[in-house]
């Protein structure tokens, strides 16, 4: 089959294509499903939609779906220096890939190596969709129920603009290895008290775990009163066996890194 590439530049045009042709959508990143291009009548390229910028929007930061990781790091560093996403995305893949990997593609495909999802889940980000199911949806709901969102594409990722200290870790044997898991921790201080705490681990049996229980148990506690070891010990993380280690091994390692991360955040 000879596929036809189309390059919409307006929302109405894009939505019309999504409804009519059941096309293969290409965001411009590293997802190169060549077999699917070969078997698709229509490939819709999002490269001309203008969704390649990051900007502030009231209480949120909007990250365009076709923003590459490099551009996100560059622009977010200007908007919010030291943002957890800057730290995480700087570690993903390699320079030529960071110049191509897009935020939308990484949310849609959820590859562990992209280092994107942990921070987004911890931050409570949402996706802004256009197509058959338009609107904003919590990112955890979106990635857990992809079937519900067929015929829609991600226009932007909406990140609440809350000032929090962040800590990010990727478990790798050597720098360019695929991570066994990633861990994101965020803390907000109010004087001596931990006003807010959030966290997420990506790479578990259910793909990810958001630390909602830990968050609730830590909110409002004085920094000096947090028993880091006890909190880490109570973590409920279940990992699958992977090439780089057994599930049990990753469970232990994850607790150690959680403990180190929390201790580091509390000492800041």
């Amino acid at each position: 089959m000879s596929s036809k590439w189309l390059f919409p530049s307006e929302i109405d045009e894009l939505v019309g294509l999504l409804e009519r042709d059941n096309p293969l959508v290409h965001g411009g990143g590293t997802g190169i499903p060549r077999g699917r291009v070969r078997s698709s009548e229509v490939v819709v390229d999002l490269g001309r939609m203008g969704w390649d910028r990051c900007y502030e929007d009231g209480k949120d930061i909007l990250l365009g779906a076709t923003c590459s990781f490099s551009r996100t790091v560059e622009e977010l560093s200007r908007i919010r220096p030291g943002h957890i996403l800057v730290s995480a995305l700087s570690q993903a893949a390699s320079t030529p890939l960071r110049n191509r990997i897009t935020l939308g593609g990484s949310v849609a495909f959820f590859p562990l190596w992209s280092d994107l999802m942990g921070p987004l889940l911890a931050l409570g980000a949402s996706v802004d969709l256009v197509g058959t199911v338009s609107g904003r949806y919590p990112i955890d709901h979106f990635v857990s129920n992809r079937g519900l969102f067929r015929g829609s594409v991600i226009r932007s990722i909406v990140v609440p603009d809350v000032p929090m200290d962040g800590w990010y870790y990727r478990e790798v044997r050597v720098g360019f290895d695929y991570p066994g898991f990633t861990m994101t921790l965020l803390a907000q201080r109010d004087g001596e008290v931990l006003a807010d705490f959030r966290g997420a681990c990506v790479g578990t049996k259910e793909r990810f775990k958001v630390f909602n229980d830990v968050s609730e148990s830590l909110k409002g506690i004085r920094y000096g009163d947090v028993d880091v070891n006890a909190v880490a010990e109570k973590l409920d993380l279940d990992f699958p066996d992977k090439k780089s280690g057994s599930g049990e091994y990753f469970g232990q390692v994850a607790k150690v890194w959680f403990e180190r991360g929390l201790a580091e955040l509390l000492e800041r």
């Binding site: 291009v37 070969r38 390229d45 590459s68 320079t95 110049n99």
Partner: protein, 155 residues
């Protein structure tokens, strides 16, 4: 399909299949200096500068970047008149089998275009997508430092 590109400063029309990568389109178009390595974006042998950014051309659909400006190693210099980066790779002994060299040179070019005086950490980071299985990277680092020095001194 056919698409018009600006390759090494010259307009060129390439023919390619709808599912062709930029790597395929370039090689089929005669740009054999762009090497085909892993086909998964991990080795960097096929690296080119696309609209100013270093990319692995095996991870880019040709159809998706029609109209773009592409720079390959051949666009930097010739055997008779090599670019300072290419000459630095030769002078530093950073070339053994040479297969990774075009990608390394393009990564170095992308780095030095934006940062003429990089630290070792910045060099490591800029070349983190390019693998070499001969040199052990020490001489490649020497070559990047030498190229940076020469380009700063001579513009």
């Amino acid at each position: 399909m056919e698409g018009r590109f600006v390759i090494n400063g010259i307009e060129k029309v390439l023919s390619f299949e709808p599912d062709a990568t930029l790597l395929q389109a370039l090689r089929d178009g005669g740009f054999s200096e762009v090497k085909r390595g892993c086909d998964t974006g991990e080795c960097g042998a096929c690296a080119v500068v696309l609209n100013g950014d270093l990319v692995t051309s095996c991870k880019v659909y040709a159809a998706s970047v029609v109209g773009s400006e592409i720079l390959t190693a051949k666009g930097l210099g010739t055997v008779q008149n090599p670019h300072p980066i290419q000459q630095a790779f030769v002078d530093a002994g950073a070339i053994q089998c040479g297969f990774c060299t075009p990608g390394m040179v393009m990564a170095t070019y992308a780095l030095l275009s934006k940062n003429p005086d990089p630290t070792d950490e910045e060099i490591r980071r800029a070349l983190d997508g390019n693998k070499c299985r001969c040199t052990g990277y020490v001489k490649i680092f020497d070559a990047v430092r030498l190229a940076a020095e020469r380009m700063r001194d001579h513009g």
